[in-house]
């Protein structure tokens, strides 16, 4: 199992090294390098995650500006110079670190995503139990959402839950969730006693022994080379 992904997921923390006391230049270099590498490895996969990142950043930035304005105007953290300069300086430092971490996350996602959840999970260097858990939970998330909608409609049709803020929902919502949980697990019990009891079934989706994936190996080599280069740059910049 370990033969072709020995360094998974140890390689990614290398990219986080610049977060700890590096110069702004090094951080910016990583910030540009990681998304470019992610694009080179898996152009199609990162579209969705980029949208999520941009949405999260668009929520973070106004709140960050608000907090940093409060910090800069407080007697404890007041800095010499104008308020705008202080806010900009403090916000940019935080934003740079957040973007740095997010770009590493982007790179990891691009390097691991193999087109479908099952292939992606099987491509990771993880014990078989964890892979089964991840694949079943992926299927269950969809199941939970569908069941939640069904139960929600059933409850609203009986007038027990109102589609607005209502004190009665405090009692109804946990009951509704419990009903969803019970429905899902009742289905699971049937499957465990039937189809899921067969080892052949699981061998088809989560093989114990996996063949070497050449695409996976290529992207690993690319990420490893970039990680090595980064460590080299860091060592040189610390030395001189």
């Amino acid at each position: 199992m370990l033969r072709h992904r020995i360094l998974f997921p140890v390689v990614y923390p290398f990219f986080l090294l610049p977060t700890f006391g590096s110069s702004v230049g090094t951080k910016l270099a990583v910030l540009v390098a990681c998304p470019c590498l992610a694009l080179a490895i898996n152009f199609r996969a990162i579209g969705r995650i980029v949208v999520l990142l941009l949405m999260a950043l668009s929520t973070l930035v106004p709140l960050l500006l608000l907090v940093q304005t409060a910090v800069c105007s407080s007697p404890v953290y007041a800095m010499p110079g104008s308020l705008a300069h202080c806010v900009a300086q403090r916000s940019l430092t935080v934003l740079l670190n957040v973007c740095l971490l997010s770009s590493v996350f982007l790179l990891a996602t691009a390097n691991e995503w193999r087109g479908s959840l099952v292939t992606t999970i099987n491509g990771m260097c993880l014990p078989r139990n964890i892979r089964v858990m991840a694949i079943v939970s992926g299927a269950m998330i969809g199941g939970f959402r569908r069941s939640m909608f069904r139960v929600y409609h059933a409850f609203t049709a009986r007038g027990e839950a109102m589609p607005s803020v209502h004190w009665r929902n405090l009692i109804v919502l946990p009951t509704m969730l419990g009903a969803v949980w019970a429905a899902e697990l009742n289905g699971v019990v049937k499957r465990v006693k039937g189809q899921w009891s067969s080892d052949t079934f699981w061998a088809r989706y989560v093989p114990a022994d996996r063949p070497i994936d050449s695409a996976c190996t290529k992207s690993d080599v690319l990420v490893l080379s970039a990680g090595g280069l980064l460590i080299g740059v860091l060592l040189v910049s610390f030395r001189f």
């Binding site: 973070l60 304005t69 996350f105 959402r145 019970a182």
Partner: protein, 201 residues
């Protein structure tokens, strides 16, 4: 696979965390509710407290990574909070809310235990999250609680103490509700599934 029911319990708890967490995140409520599955895993898994700690910590880590990929890319940086919550759930709460799950506790006992364990969980989460919130996100905790943080800093509090106080004001409410959800959901767990879990030991 002999341990299939345990694996399925973990998968269901992860799905529960992600499903409720997504709903709350999309509704922009001043809560998280993304840890009820961690508590549920610690309460339901058979075996010792140590086993439950490891099991619920795995549930927490996988939940937060999945949530990060599907919904909020900032969530994986709070994995430490998930692990601390898993340890608290397994070592402190597990075995002490059995009557709450069975429905044999009186209302006063139910509310008392719920508040004590929920507030305790909230304090643990606030202490573990505070350094991440301050040093990584510059004090941004979420839409509602960020305003409390900004107010506290403006009134002269240090950043870490402001983050801790903000956490202490918001996390206990969130974690008490998460515990309530976990108990409610545990109560609905079918007997047939509990039997499968017991047999898989």
């Amino acid at each position: 696979m002999k341990n299939l029911p345990t694996i399925i319990l973990a998968a269901a708890c992860i799905a529960l965390n992600v499903a409720i967490g997504t709903l709350v995140y999309l509704l922009k409520l001043p809560l998280y509710l993304d840890s009820a599955g961690i508590m549920l895993a610690a309460l339901l898994v058979p075996g010792s407290r140590i086993n439950a700690s490891i099991f619920s910590a795995i549930v927490g880590v996988v939940s937060f990574v999945t949530f990060g990929v599907l919904v909020s890319p900032f969530q994986p940086w709070f994995i430490g909070t998930a692990i601390a919550g898993a340890l608290y759930a397994s070592l402190v709460v597990r075995g002490r809310v059995t009557d709450l799950i069975d429905g044999t506790a009186t209302t006063a006992r139910f509310l008392g235990r719920l508040l004590i364990f929920g507030i305790g969980w909230g304090i643990v989460a606030a202490v573990v999250s505070a350094p991440i919130v301050v040093y990584l996100f510059g004090g941004v905790t979420g839409a509602g609680t960020t305003l409390i943080f900004a107010f506290l800093v403006k009134t002269g509090h240090q950043l870490v103490s402001a983050a801790l106080l903000t956490g202490f004001s918001a996390e206990p409410v969130d974690k008490t509700l998460s515990l309530l959800l976990a108990i409610a959901v545990a109560r609905f767990t079918p007997q047939a599934f509990r039997q499968l879990l017991a047999d898989s030991r």
